[in-house]
Every structure is written in structure tokens, then in C-alpha cells.
Symmetry: C2
Subunit: 143 residues, 2 copies
DNA sequence: TGCAATTAAATTGCAAACAATTTAATTTTA
DNA sequence: TAAAATTAAATTGTTTGCAATTTAATTGCA
């Protein structure tokens, strides 16, 4: 088997599916005026209220080079507040505005709508999820 | 189960693993002066010699908005030739230069090196590949 | 034939993504 | 305590990725 053929690669499907999934989110997120990475930030903040850029980056595997401009755009859009920690001026805390909090309700159907696009059975879903989580652990450890 | 929690999502692992894998490729591709998307273009051209931008885009799921500048950079780097089809001036064919052809030999170990990073058994590899291929088919059909 | 529709690339503009560097604050340690 | 090391964000510069539009060529069909 020729390993240099695209069809024999495992990595290309990850690259392609990742972009396809983002494309599936687009029409669902557009009414909320969100991009997929912005939606991910909101997912985390709906759960954790108040996080530093560092902590947010740890959960999303993104660094400040990506997050700072992204968060500034979200601040511009009135979704989040950014403020320096009084106790440690290096740290910037990110929290939700009322508008950001209220979006949770409008977004609550999105995971179901998207899951239905993927057309997986419960078994397939959980099996795949387990394999991805394992792979995620492997690749995260290689940092 | 709260579907709006990051940890319960299937899509986030795809997004994150995709970027992690690209990060794993980086040190392998850097000596060849390639980015991951450029490497993908070469994978296709090593197999198919001569393709239009359209055909290349079909294989990689990328449009001319992404490919045109990417291919221009690869042309600048002396990896590919771009020339308009004489028979149909709308079409641009992309082919490899000698330098591009020769890179295949230098790249031939990359898939194995990368596969070893992922630490999957043969069974896991093929099982995962099958599930991804199926998902890919599903999401591609939703275009 | 000749105009409308279609097609393939290219272009424009914007949002990520990330390496590398910089800035400023805090901690360590000599 | 003061300089060195570390840390957190921000900044800079480059490459992707994609929607939307434009340009130019070809095809279809009235």
C-alpha cells in the first residue's frame, strides 16, 4: 500500500472533516453572528463564567496569538468583557456580557441539529467519540 | 448530558485533532520547506502528474480562493508549474517541476513517522479510517 | 449566428492559526 | 534586595480558508 496516496492517509480525513464540520456549523451560527471559534469560546464561557485568556487557551488548545484578536472581535460585538486581573496585571479575565449569556438559549439546539447532519447512530457516535478522545490525549501529550 | 459542554461534543475533537496533527507534521515538513496544505498538493501531484486547479480542488476539498495563492507560492518556490490549457483558456493545469518530483523521495518516510506519533494499533488505525471515510462521505454529500 | 447561461480562475476582504518576538508584570534566586 | 528568569498577553508577519465578486472563456440555445 502506497502511504503517499491521499486515500490511504488518516490525517487528510481529519483535516477535511474538520473543515466540513465547520461548514455545517456556518448556516447554524450565521443567524447568531458567530464564527465556529467564537462559538467554542462561548461554549467554554457558558460553563465557566470567568476565565483568563490562558485558561481559555488551555481548554481550546489555542494561544494568545489566536485568542487575543478573536476575543477583541467578540468584545467589539458586545459578547464578552475583557479585564486585567487586579491581583496580577499580566492576566486578562474574559467574561460574558448579558448579550453573551443570552445567546446560550438561542444556541441550545445547535448541537442536536449538527449531530443529525452527521447521521451517526448512538453506538457510532460514542465509539467515535472514545477513539477521538484517546487520539486527542496522545497528540496533546506530544506538545 | 449537557450538549453545550465542550467535553460532550464530537466536533471539537475534530477541530482540535486536525490542528494537532498539522502541528505534528510541522517539524517533519519544515526541512522540506513545506506547509501541510502544500504537502497535500504534492501528495496529489505525485500520484496524478498533471491536474487542473479544479480537479486538485475536488480532491482536497479546496476552492480556487485557497488554491490560487497557495499554488502561486509553490510556483515561486519552484515546486510546481502552472499553465493555461491551450484547448480551454479558462483552465489552469498544475504540474510538478523536477524539484517537486524529487521531493517525493525525501518525503517518503513522513507518513510512517507521523503514524508512529499517533500510536494506534493496526486494528485501531483501520477502524478509525473506516469511520472517518464514512463520515467524510456523509458530510461531503451535504454540500 | 448571437446573446444568455455556465464555467474556471482569480481577486477581494475578512477571520483564523501559529511561529516568533515584544512588553510588562511577577517570581526566583543569588 | 536587585538582577535574572519566568510568565501572560499582545504584537508582527505569514499562510490558510472561505464567501462573494469579478474576469474571461466556453457552451447552449433561441
Amino acid at each position: 500500500m502506497n502511504q503517499l496516496k491521499l486515500e490511504n492517509q488518516l490525517c487528510f480525513p481529519f483535516y477535511a472533516i474538520s473543515r466540513q464540520i465547520t461548514a455545517l456549523y456556518r448556516p447554524l451560527l450565521e443567524p447568531l453572528d458567530l464564527t465556529y471559534p467564537q462559538y467554542l469560546v462561548l461554549l467554554v464561557l457558558w460553563e465557566h463564567k470567568n476565565l483568563s485568556v490562558k485558561e481559555l487557551g488551555k481548554k481550546l488548545l489555542l494561544d494568545s496569538g489566536t485568542l487575543t484578536p478573536l476575543l477583541k472581535r467578540m468584545e467589539q460585538d458586545g459578547l464578552v468583557n475583557r479585564q486585567r486581573d487586579k491581583a496580577d496585571e499580566r492576566v486578562v479575565f474574559v467574561s460574558l456580557t448579558n448579550k453573551g449569556i443570552e445567546l446560550e438559549n438561542e444556541a441550545k439546539d445547535i448541537p442536536f441539529k449538527l449531530a443529525s447532519c452527521l447521521a451517526l447512530s448512538m453506538e457510532e457516535f460514542f465509539s467515535l467519540k472514545a477513539q477521538l478522545d484517546k487520539l486527542m490525549e496522545t497528540t496533546s501529550a506530544l506538545k
